[in-house]
Symmetry: C2
Subunit: 395 residues, 2 copies
């Protein structure tokens, strides 16, 4: 981890285009000095935003030069006009930078169902290309925020074949966070030399254990996009064996770090809770159980209320369609066991657990004692502020 | 519908036993003067409360004489001691009434995971048996309330074989409402003459289109119980053909009425919204689609915000794992179409829709234009008050 948020060969810029209310940065551009290996992971939602459709195509050949991203308008549910706008955005950036539009990746986040104001986008591009700077990635992180309360940025430094390299990631999250990705954008930049197949492999496996393991409200989005670019300037040559593993682990660390920031900044969230379900009958039982508990509104309001109301956890497990026997279930808040063999361990234990629950971060562990599988998910509490944010979002 | 909430041959009573905080009625007894045909439908949650386990057994023979129900403690996740308490409750009621304990059905609702205070239950029974009265069913409706803000009661009058009969239903609902029944108790009393197989058939089919079609927060419970008793005092003889159909439809009406009351009284709810998804590729697509939309936290906060934010509806449909094409989707709020072929119909339409959404009741209709199936569900909005109620429930 470092506070120097630069990666050699990558420049960024952000401007106020007028897509967000107020005078906030809302369009960002990230450019690699030279062709970069590129990979992407996109939403599994059947309703895909125009920039998702376009970027999926543009990243297919495994290379890219630039990412343009805007907040304030998701360019989703906008039909053919929306797709033309995404295409036109890539063209304008390509022209501004003197590169092929196919090497431009586009991402949007914000309100669904309104056409993008292309005059604002077109008007923003000259300012972006003119102010590109090595140290401006944090500004890009700021520009892609929607209901986020802080910009999300994380980095990793590694060595491969004797050469130092860096991985820098930025993300936006907040609401609509849930397995299979969430409304989140994440851009990963690295100067490592890696082929695009390996980059994609590392990216996919990292998504699996990071962004796909967090949940804010059970809703997934039309715009989820993770893009990675690696420009090879570190000069490490082929990336093999242990060096690949270190890179993949570094990438995972950056994405895990960003995942935690997204949940901690979940809309209205006051608590970051790691939910683990252990010793399930099957891997799919583990996944179903952990998702059901982590997404239960009643469990999430109890987390907010700092109440070790384990009956709600039992009720969630009971409807998760898993193999379970009530009299085998053990439950812990951090290291305080509140349920043993399906029965409450009493007021003393609950008092200790309630004390732990006053913290910002703690874990909730369920042991089903049925088999040998487990799964884990990061979640947050459901608060008054979540309702306020989402009832008032467009008004 | 009538305001005379009596059924011949059924008496009820309710007392303050001290299970709820404050001086509230919390234990109710309902007794049939003579043996009644009986049927029950119970939670599908794998974690079943003790009274559910007991009542499932006691109703198996198709007959019963009494129902005892308490609020304040669910007697769920209480292991063998809990089951003994439920059994003991039936015994005490049996002794008090001079009937077999097997003819006593038991239901509980309230906090999960705490042992029932049997001294309070035992102390309540003499008062209950002493004050049984024909017109006290509304008091029983009051006694079973937890976070409900009003008692729920509905009735139907019909004729069979020239004989008038009545169906009277009471219910409690509020939170944890979701398909496969919810934390709800519902007791149906009728003086019709019907055999227990037919009663069960009518009850099951009514549950399917009433209590299984409502949703407050996506959580199901350990205690869901619907019990029906019919004592035959109407003297209609065998119930056949059209007479059965009228009874079944009357039963459905009573249960639908109670369902609507439960959603309207959903924890913190301010709006009752009927969600329908039409013209889906398959019946299971219709069910999945309507459940995903009706349970989406983002859709439900938009309902609260009176915001026709149809992008959230599209996003919910997109993750529902159904056959759909974005450019075929039409969406209405009541009769105002806000989406046509996947695109918004503009500010004018949204303004009209927003006006409708200021009402307490409206409908949200999605037409997928894929096939010939449809499904419907009643839901409510997600509000600040929901969070307040559920964060503070036990404290």
């Amino acid at each position: 981890m470092t506070n120097d948020y630069t990666v050699q060969g990558f420049k960024a810029a952000a401007v106020v285009a007028g897509l967000k209310k107020g005078d906030a940065l809302d369009v960002a551009l990230i450019v690699s000095d030279r062709e970069a290996a590129a990979a992407g992971v996109f939403t599994t939602n059947k309703v895909k935003a125009a920039p998702v459709i376009l970027s999926e195509r543009h990243v297919e050949n495994g290379k890219a030069r630039a990412i343009i991203a805007n907040a304030g308008n998701a360019n989703a549910c906008t039909g053919d006009p929306g797709l033309n706008d995404a295409r036109r955005t890539a063209e304008l950036v390509g022209r501004g930078l003197g590169i092929s539009p196919e090497d431009v990746l586009v991402a949007s986040t914000g309100v669904i169902g309104e056409q993008l104001d292309m005059r604002l986008i077109a008007g923003a591009i000259p300012g972006l290309t003119k102010t590109l700077a090595l140290d401006a990635v944090p500004l890009a992180a700021q520009a892609i925020m929607t209901t986020d309360s802080f910009p999300k940025i994380s980095s990793f430094e590694g060595r491969a074949g004797g050469h130092a390299y860096r991985i820098l990631g930025i993300a936006k999250g907040a609401g609509m966070i849930m397995p299979d990705m969430a409304t989140m954008l994440c851009f990963i930049l690295s100067d490592i030399s890696i082929n695009s197949d390996d980059l994609k492999r590392a990216l996919l496996s990292s998504v699996e254990t990071t962004f796909n393991c967090i949940s804010v409200d059970g809703d997934t989005s039309t715009n989820d996009t993770v893009l990675a670019m690696a420009n090879g300037l570190a000069g490490n040559g082929d990336l093999r064996g242990e060096d690949y593993d270190i890179f993949a682990e570094g990438l995972r660390n950056v994405m895990w770090d960003l995942s935690k920031m997204i949940v901690r900044d979940g809309e209205g969230a006051t608590k970051l809770v790691s939910v683990e379900v252990k010793n399930t009958f099957s891997p799919s039982d583990a996944l179903r159980a952990v998702r059901t508990v982590a997404n239960s509104s009643l469990v999430k309001t109890a987390l907010y209320g700092q109440d070790p109301n384990w009956g709600r956890i039992m009720a969630a497990l009971g409807r998760a369609e898993i193999e379970m026997r009530e009299d085998r279930v053990d439950i812990w808040i951090d290291d305080v066991q509140i349920v043993a063999k399906g029965l409450g361990r009493g007021a003393e234990a609950e008092k200790l657990a309630a004390e732990i629950m006053t913290r910002n971060e703690f874990s909730l562990t369920v042991d089903l004692n049925e088999g040998g599988y487990h799964d884990r998910m990061l979640t947050c509490d459901l608060t008054h502020e979540y309702v306020t944010i989402n009832a008032d979002y467009r008004t």
